[in-house]
Amino acid sequence: MKQPIANAPHEKTHIVPKRSKFASNLRQVKKEWQLYSLLVLPVIYLLLFKYIPMMGNVIAFRRYAPGGSVFGEEWVGMRYIEMFIQSSKFWEVFMNNIMLGSVTLLVGFPAPIILALLLNELRSKRFKKFVQSTSYLPHFLSIVIVSGMIFQITAEDGPINAIIRFFGGETILFMQQADWFLPIYVLSDLWQTVGWGTILYLAALTGIDESLYEAAKIDGANKWKQTLHITLPGITPIIVVLLTLNIGKFMQVGFEKVLLLYNPLIFETADVISTYLFRVGLQSGNFSYATAIGLFEALIGLVLVFSANYLSKKITGASLW
């Protein structure tokens, strides 16, 4: 009996002429003031903690004076960005960034897809659950713990060196040799993220229509062919979306992890843009210069994610927005 009365005002708005749209919106806001009141704190939060720092990036183009305004004192144009690009450190940290980012992407992106496909082939539900639960676990670990584990495992007295010695090799001081940083960084990243990365793929896999497999079996397709022609195309949209996101984040090499793991002995392979920025800005106090470095990094990320999104929309039709 008490039915659609509540909905009636909505339907009316369609026939209201355009110029009074503002008035009707205002009426709606007034009527729903309680709903709008819920937005007050979150919007203040976004403006204060997200948008003000965003505008604070402007000190990359202004000279900052200690104790002065968050937005700097006077315009200096591109000076700090030029300073960074021309500095001898630039190529070192830029190339390290690209090396760590691209190898992580190359190894870390396909790995969860493969793991999800393998998990999907398991017959035993319980074993599948068990493998999944275990592999999610590292995702919940603090980066401090992960770096602690890396130090312990690669230590002179750690298990990896124990294995090396068991097979008659020489002890390796992993964390003091520049050449070892890349593999340690990438493999530990793989260890921490691969299981968690499978969640979305597994969800997509359960969404594939069973009857497609039945039809394929009747046509005589074996498991491998089914995977190639049904399973993979079935999860392509999610692969594309995640790839786009990953490409966008490709410059954001794990700042905290590098900061915890590196030491001056291995700067030549471990130092990245963000850790360099950290040392220049917060340890040496060059705020404007460090902001310029950060802005440079953020803009590359933004360009990357927009171009990846554009390309994936063009090529596959799937995209983030």
């Binding site: 997200k50 505008m55 000190i59 968050v70 398991l122 602690g148 007295d157 299981g195 498991k223 002995l265």
Partner: protein, 290 residues
């Protein structure tokens, strides 16, 4: 239909491979636990692998009786509780509001939030903001700037969107206003997503170290992550410096480090099994509908 021999072989190989994945995943945990129960001399000699050698509980006693450790542990509990409460409150009200189609300007508010995922102020502007707000050496420096995670916000928003519209209509006919509807009707139905959010945020707060590292310089405020970081980093810095006399102290801390690591992971390991069934559902809710 019967499996081909090749497929049976694949099944076997697959199971073995995945068991190997499980082993590799657990290996670092086992190794740390083994070290935490081992004697110093045995660790120094590189004898400890996956099983404690020279079993002792002394190290646990040493860490337990360290007042700095307990104090930082207490701090972490405090920061995690306050932080997570703020997270849940802010995320819930925001997600609820933007899940309503009747909210004029809804897309604007969604965009306002989502844009911050792609572009943000860097380290320095954030640092300047927090310090000029006077948050240095206060809990606000770590709980307020991370009040809302946009990813979690979107997960919660799509959960609210999936609830049937009729629920709210009947509530409003019964005279419930927006607040009461949210509190009495919507939240009791949102237990799976709330459990997920609590797990995600609590883990994030528990694990957080960088804001504290950046804004705190008083030892009695440090969370356990900083305590641990200083243990680990302190030893490795002297190692890098190559100081001979430091080597002794580095070895001593080797099993202390292991114990501290075990103790700071423990709470996560304890709640994880109980919340696990929720979070998989929770994440999927938020992400699969593309």
């Amino acid at each position: 239909m019967k499996d081909s021999r090749q497929y049976k072989l694949f099944q076997l190989a697959n199971v073995i491979l995945l068991l190997l994945v499980v082993f590799i995943t657990l290996f670092p945990f086992l190794s740390i636990v083994a070290r935490s129960f081992s004697g110093e001399a045995e660790i120094n000699a590189g004898e400890v692998f996956l099983w404690p050698v020279g079993f002792n509980l002394e190290t646990y006693k040493v860490v337990f009786s360290d007042s700095h450790f307990w104090n930082s542990y207490k701090n972490t509990v405090l920061y995690t509780t306050v932080g997570t409460a703020i997270n849940i409150f802010m995320t819930t009200i925001f997600a609820y509001a933007i899940s309503k189609k009747r909210l004029v300007g809804r897309n604007f508010f969604i965009m306002l939030a989502v844009f911050t995922m792609f572009f943000s102020g860097g380290l320095i502007p954030n640092y300047l903001l927090i310090t000029s707000l006077g948050f240095a050496n206060s809990i606000w420096a770590i709980v307020l700037p991370t009040a809302i995670s946009i990813f979690n916000l979107l997960v919660m928003k799509s959960f609210f969107e999936s609830l049937p519209e009729e629920l709210e209509e009947s509530a409003s006919i019964d005279g419930a206003n927006t607040y009461i509807t949210l509190l009495r009707i919507i939240l009791p139905l949102s237990k799976p997503v709330l459990a997920t959010m609590i797990l995600f945020y609590a883990v994030e707060n528990w694990n957080s170290w960088f804001p504290a590292f950046l804004y705190f310089d008083q030892q009695d405020l440090f969370p356990v992550s900083i305590y641990l970081r200083n243990l680990i980093k302190g030893a490795s810095d002297t190692m890098a410096a190559g100081a001979a006399e430091a080597s002794n102290m580095q070895q001593v801390s080797s099993n202390i480090k292991a114990v501290t690591m075990v103790l700071s992971v423990l709470p996560i390991l304890l709640v994880y099994p109980y919340l696990q069934k929720y979070f998989v559902k929770g994440v999927m809710l938020g992400s699969v509908k593309q």
